[in-house]
């Protein structure tokens, strides 16, 4: 599931390496949807510069406490800072892109994305 670092040459910002962790709860339809959705987003927008790991807290419940997981699925952006959490089946691509600072929120030029 790891797609390793292939530097792109377009822009400086584009060089930033993304570390993403997706926590799911077993092979529920919602879990599977979330995996598919986030992979598609990464492939399309972060190609070659992301580290995505999918973890099943149903298998490793101790992870849930350590990572403060309540909702499932939960995606945690560990890098770049700030840490950000996304909960849901990752179907709202726009929100995710804004949250990952890959797209500006509705026309305003902000680097930090929507708060």
């Amino acid at each position: 599931m790891n797609t390793k670092n292939v530097p792109e040459t377009k822009a400086v910002a584009a060089l930033v390496q993304y570390v993403l962790r997706l926590y799911i709860t077993g092979s529920t339809p919602r879990s599977l949807r979330a995996i598919a959705n986030i992979r598609a987003i990464c492939q399309e927008h972060l190609k070659g510069r992301y580290d995505l790991e999918v973890l099943d807290i149903a298998q490793q419940p101790q992870l849930a406490e350590g990572e403060q997981i309540i909702a499932a699925p939960t995606l945690i952006k560990k890098a770049p800072l700030p840490i950000r959490r996304f909960i849901g089946d990752m179907s709202e691509t726009e929100r995710i892109l804004i949250g990952l600072d890959l797209r500006r929120a509705s026309g305003t030029a902000t680097d930090s994305g929507s708060r």
Binding site: Y23, T25, T28, R30, R33, A34, N37, I57, A58, P61, Q62, A64, E65, Q68, I69, I70, A71, A72, P73, T74, L75, P82, I83, R84, R85, F86, I87, G88, D89, M90, S91, E92, R95, I96, G99, R115
Partner: protein, 562 residues
């Protein structure tokens, strides 16, 4: 019968008839700072330590370290319990600003965490404190509500006895986010109210499906030994009675009470205005108990312990010795420190911890100062009945204002006094420039007590009661009594001298007579002797004459019959 899980919390198990519904969630709600977390924590700790039921504490507000520190003051060592796998703490931290909703989700993460914690220690009890934090952390309340419903169902299915805490809502709402909708089995409300600048915490069981429960509000306290709710067992009026007598320590007072003192486990009410010696009587009863080797508890609301010890020493009551020997505890506190109920809860705790046979409260009037009688009576009744239940003899003093002495008997103290078995009334009597103390037994249930007024004397030697003197229709006390006594003594001694004199006179008269009798007797004997001698002499002469003249002729010629 609904299975119940004992909480181990003083009083709560009595109110709920055995504890919380076993295997079901209970909602505990109240405003901030009213003790929800403490109640929940004690429920877990008692479960783990007393009933062998491990528990999971899921906290949404404080983190584990804070929580551990907070309950250490109650003597709960969470670290130790956690190491023994009896308690598991999980801090759920939800930071709204970090969270972005990106599609459909559920709270399976929470379920997995809780399930994992439960499985790890084999928990039977769960606390969620307070779930409502989730409403602030998660934007989609529709999902949250659906998941909460599922969570409570899930807890029930797993057979967890759970406490869910919730913040009190505005107005009539029980909780801010309507958690009561999901937890239908048992709802307990905690409340903190302030009246006359004194705050009192109260607990009420709002609902308890499938069981009878106390409906009233009960005061509770978070004390050194944890949570305690003032129990209600005592309202039954079915306490055992004792025929045993307890001497008061004042011999003459015992005399007024059939010579034996008061009944064990009865309540003694000592009223009087300032300086009539109420505290002294209470201290004497306490001392007497200690001298019998029994434990006694002295609640003081006017003086500090040291002050009481010093002052009582002046009338030869040495309390310090008993304190040292561990037979006496003196609890001094300001009446305004807590509300009345809270004071009573404190007394309950102390009594339960120390197990005395004698309790003195000096004075209850200070406790009741700021309250209406309507407030005071039920709570005092609880205390009195509680003490009776425990077979503790109790003495309560009460201050009455001088002017009120007469109407008091009918009015202001009536409510309280009707609860008392023995009522000693102390009074100041002012006469001829002196003020003296008198005492009488106004009532004493179940015995033929004296109806007499006695003078009550406090001196270096201790407490004594002295017969008063009646002069006309006036009671004489103090110097007037002493003067009267002197008069009587003098009168008595005068009379005695007269008597002795008379006796002596009579005695000498008798002696005189006896001497005369002896003289006469001697004379009479002499006469008798002379008569004898004369007869003998006459007979001799006759014989002589007969032999001279005619020897044949019998004598008596001279005595010819006439």
């Amino acid at each position: 019968m609904l299975p119940k899980a004992r909480t181990g919390i003083d009083g709560l198990d009595e109110i709920t008839g055995g504890g919380l519904p076993a295997g079901r969630p209970t909602l505990v709600c109240g405003s901030a700072g009213c003790g929800k977390t403490m109640l929940a924590m004690e429920f877990l700790v008692r479960g783990a330590t007393q009933y062998g039921e491990p528990g999971v504490f899921m906290t949404f507000e404080e983190n584990a370290a804070e929580l551990t520190a907070n309950v250490r003051s109650l003597g709960f060592d969470l670290d130790e319990l956690a190491a023994a796998k009896m308690i598991a703490l999980d801090h759920v931290h939800v930071e709204r600003s970090e969270i972005e909703e990106a599609g459909d989700y559920d709270l399976e993460g929470l379920f997995i965490r809780l399930g994992h914690a439960i499985d790890t220690i084999g928990a039977k009890r769960v606390v969620l404190d307070t779930l409502e934090a989730l409403f602030a952390g998660l934007p989609n309340h529709a999902i949250l509500r659906a998941e909460l419903r599922r969570l409570f169902r899930w807890l029930k299915d797993r057979g967890m006895t759970a406490i869910i805490t919730g913040e009190k809502g505005d107005g009539n709402a029980i909780t801010r986010h309507g958690l009561e909708e999901y937890v239908a089995d048992c709802v307990i409300i905690l409340d903190q109210r302030i009246k006359e600048q004194i705050s009192t915490r109260r607990l009420r069981v709002l609902k308890y499906r499938g069981t009878a429960h106390g409906m009233n509000e009960y005061p509770f306290l978070i004390g050194e030994h944890g949570f305690s709710v003032l129990p209600i067992t005592s309202l039954q009026l079915d306490h055992p009675v004792s025929a045993e007598r307890v001497p008061t320590g004042i011999a003459r007072l015992d005399e007024m009470l059939e010579g034996e003192g008061v009944f064990r486990a009865s309540s003694v009410f000592v009223t009087g205005s300032a300086g009539t010696g109420k505290s002294s009587i209470a201290a004497k009863l306490v001392e007497a108990a200690c001298q019998r080797g029994e434990r006694a508890l002295f609640f003081a609301y006017e003086e500090s312990a040291a002050q009481i010890i010093r002052n009582m020493l002046s009338i030869n009551i040495d309390l310090a010795t008993w304190v040292k020997k561990g037979l006496l505890q003196i609890h001094s506190s300001r009446p305004t420190l807590y509300g009345l109920e809270q004071h009573l809860v404190m007394m309950h705790e102390s009594v339960n911890a120390f197990r005395p046979t004698m309790v003195a409260v000096d004075p209850i009037s200070n406790l009741t100062l700021a309250y209406d009688d309507a407030d005071v009576n039920p709570t005092l009744m609880r205390l009195i009945d509680f003490l009776k239940q425990k077979q503790i003899t109790a003495v309560f003093t009460s201050l009455t204002s001088e002017a009120m002495v007469e109407p008091m008997q009918e009015n202001s103290q009536l409510g309280v006094s009707s609860l008392m078995d023995t009522w000693l009334l102390l009074r100041n009597v002012e006469y001829s420039g002196e003020r003296n103390r008198t005492i009488f037994v106004l009532k004493s249930r179940g015995m033929a007590h004296s109806n007499q007024v006695r003078e009550f004397v406090l001196s270096d030697a201790g407490i004594d009661l002295v017969d008063v003197h009646l002069s006309g229709d006036r009671v004489l006390t103090g110097r007037a009594r002493i003067a009267q006594e002197e008069d009587e003594r003098v009168a008595l001694s005068t009379g005695h001298a007269d008597h002795l004199r008379t006796l002596r006179q009579l005695e000498s008269k008798q002696k005189t007579i006896e001497a005369q009798i002896a003289a006469l007797q001697a004379e009479s004997e002499a006469v008798h002797l002379a008569i004898g001698q004369e007869s003998v002499r006459a007979a001799d002469q006759q014989i002589l004459a007969g032999t001279k003249r005619q020897p044949g002729g019998a004598g008596g010629t001279q005595r010819k019959p006439v």
